[in-house]
Amino acid sequence: MIACLLIPGFELRAALRSRPGVELKPAALAPVPGTEPLLGPVTAAAEAAGVRAQMRLGEALASCPELVLVDPDPAEVEREWEGVLRRLEDVGLAVEPVDPGVVVFETKGVERLYGGVAEALQRALAAVGTAWDPRAGAAGRRFAALAAASVARPGQILIVEGKEEREFLAPLPLSLLPLHPERYAELEGLGVRKLGELAALPGGAVAERLGPDGRRAWALSRGGERRRVRGRAPAVELAEALSFPEAVANELTLRRAFGALLDRLLARPDRGGRPFRKLAVAARLVSGGSWRRTVTLREATAERARLRAALGPKLAELPAPIVELRLEAVELADHTGTQLALVEPRGQELGGRLREGLRQVRASTGSGSVCAVVEVAPWSRIPEARSLVVPRDE
């Protein structure tokens, strides 16, 4: 069977981990700056006060003036989600993350180990922990498993047998389908409010009226396609971070700090010489939130100049001054041979000699003995805030 483990409002829950006590107040995830002012997930207290997810900010504040807006914290969400996935993998599940808060996995491989589907799901819920209020569903198809998890209560397991899937899905609301809000309104206008009502319509007519999205929604309302779950490849643990003594927004400083982080990441011995396939740049904003961008390289590489060219421009997208910059290797490629250059670029030989000299110094004095000075705020009136000393283990 395919199982789905669901943690509703995961982004908000993760952002609230650093703000204990707020989860008991009316709180909502603030809209991302520059996007439509719609709220993200909300707490139970906010729901009781009439605030709903995807509600307009002005409307929400008018109905609940004491609403606490929590800044999105994508870096924390990523970190916490990775922790959840690892705990699930530790109990033997090959997980396929869908979104933060939604993960699917096959129970086939662990049913005999734990004594059945329900026992395996119980184990998965225990691994995640009660603090996250996870719930689980299992069915023969992905969408049915997701729907089962969506209607389950916190800590509950809902298993839908194959022949009962259509009956189980029929009374559920359309909001479970991945549709644009306008499509919901259109369907409601046509008197279609339940999955069963949509499933009863002819597929061709739905496609003609609602287009490809509607056709897909119609297929899902009938249970969806039978697609296997593909467990993710194990994640790597390579990250380097640099904290600034004061908030930094200057692009030159950010690029210098990024260069230092890149040098340190490239020098990590646990990389084992493998090139990077996917990297992420993350930052902690001075206002308390965080920012994160992921880049997948078309060709895996460990060349400093190429990595700088691919990731450097992302720094211009930072929405506010930052107090910490972080560089993470999300995925490494297998080690492959690279084509050597016929003519070495200018300065290559000198660079090589310098590296060799530093390597010898490190070999005789130990790791961390060779450092580079990174200017972080050269204009500062406080002398010790102008530069940082960063280890250079390249």
Binding site: A235, E237, P391
Partner: protein, 90 residues
Amino acid sequence: MTNDVHPRARRSVGRLNAPRPALVEMHVDGSPQLVNRQRVTFVREEWRVVDRWWTEEPVNRHYFEVVLESGENACVYRDADAACWFTQRA
């Protein structure tokens, strides 16, 4: 996907030019007379730095760039909040 930063990453990042405590005796007007037991022959420049007053770690320093009797240049400051003297390359 990451996890915790390598322990070395946080541990060994340091500040350059951090202030060091200095032994200073001063005149009645507040200017330094002796710096680390050496007499000050000449005060070349003095200035104030008042910054970060909006944070929990405000900076209120009175800097003096002095020439000592050995001919050495030194830069010292008096932290107004801690009432202590420090030496630092400005």
